[in-house]
Symmetry: C2
Amino acid sequence: MTTSALGTSVAQLSLQEDEGREIKLLNAKEDRYGGVIVELEEAMEPNAFAASLKASMDHWRKQEKNGVWIQLPLKLSSLVDIAVQEGFRYHHAEPDYLMLACWLPSRPDTLPANASHQVGIGAFVINDQREVLVVQEKSGAFGGSGVWKFPTGVVDEGEDICDATIREVKEETGIDAEFVEVLAFRQSHKGFFGKSDLFFVCMLKPLSSEIQKQDTEIEAAKWMPLDEYVNQPFIQKHGQFKQIADICLNKSNSHYSGFSLQSAKSSSGKTNIIYFNGHDMNRQSLD
Amino acid sequence: MTTSALGTSVAQLSLQEDEGREIKLLNAKEDRYGGVIVELEEAMEPNAFAASLKASMDHWRKQEKNGVWIQLPLKLSSLVDIAVQEGFRYHHAEPDYLMLACWLPSRPDTLPANASHQVGIGAFVINDQREVLVVQEKSGAFGGSGVWKFPTGVVDEGEDICDATIREVKEETGIDAEFVEVLAFRQSHKGFFGKSDLFFVCMLKPLSSEIQKQDTEIEAAKWMPLDEYVNQPFIQKHGQFKQIADICLNKSNSHYSGFSLQSAKSSSGKTNIIYFNGHDMNRQSLD
């Protein structure tokens, strides 16, 4: 919002005063999509917030703004209801704030969606003796089932898939390992809190052999011959597990190329990781 | 919660009555991780909610519950502040509800994180004349830049990557296409709303040729010789774009295997899509 626009509005709004107090517009920043965002940080008295929000909404409607965003920190939870009464809906929340949104135009709402996916990893850690690192979990879907499975875990926000895989293997089994390749990935829907899920099966090369299992979540951990892992009745019976086991078997026979990684700069200068078939790219450059 | 546990608590709580009214515990379901979830749907008077929540929290503490979840629909936004005052934090929100959480034990909080990733796609649609489908966007990072780029878009919650790619190509350009392979993917961090991002570069085979561009977001769309696309100064200058362009070039020379797809049943009976190097898997089975 420019200073002159703000000035104009405050002048207009002084007509609406009812107790001699001037109603201040909320501080807002323009976004790149014709909308505005209000990041409230300081405490505001609920009635003052209600009046300022109402006046600001009139102002933004006159300015033909698209989306209006209000970010309220947890400590200002007393203002949530006021924004909802003014027509806002929830957009997303993190532990320390709630983001509310309101679409002003009469045409359909094109506000971007909330984060849609959880990301998980499964680690195929295989040593030179064709033994694979497996665990039994204490709780969750496999708790008490007796199934030996790959170490798995959730990729944190801000964490690279390759790093998450190394971290989970270390946390659950104490084994140090290095990332080799993404062998496959699975997309599923309606998981935790109704979100979709991407699960990456990653191959790692172990750098140590002595297991020190984590006690809270892991019932048991050991090295198991790959064929014994693959031949578990549970694995053979369930299409998805069998398919992933087959891919791992093929990989262990050296005939399968997954996606290896390489860092690359984005147009904004950030360094990101790209996963792709490095084997085929290298082969190409030798042709 | 069992009926007998509820009965015990109500008896205890009648001691706390102050105006002759019995304080009802909130209805809660057990989760698989030693916690409880309250899904409030009916309107509740704020003071009644505050009293019930306080009594319920005492009850759950005595039961040594772990996490307590409260899901509040948008229409009950007047109760948000009460839950926060009782020690709850936000967990996540969707347009029509807010999920609050509170961790009761003294040991560290192991509540699962909110969805962490946005998922996007870029569509490499190449025809038999080695022409690639490109667009210029009206707004966003490339608006007005003159750069010709692949159609891109966001994968919706609940949508398969392959379907999202076909949908975005159709929406932006009117071209019908079929999914071939994921050629590569990129993970980046601190994107929209601070979330991480997975961006899948997918190859598609066009099934039609006449472009009908979408007018709201797309400035222009056309078929462009692949070499001309790759040789754009912007593409050559930016590491990440150049790397993806090189992968697409290699793929067009038929030397590169990406991840194709196959459906598979999960252990819970859901059908999911697994993406993997189908070329190498087929080669293996022929060996």
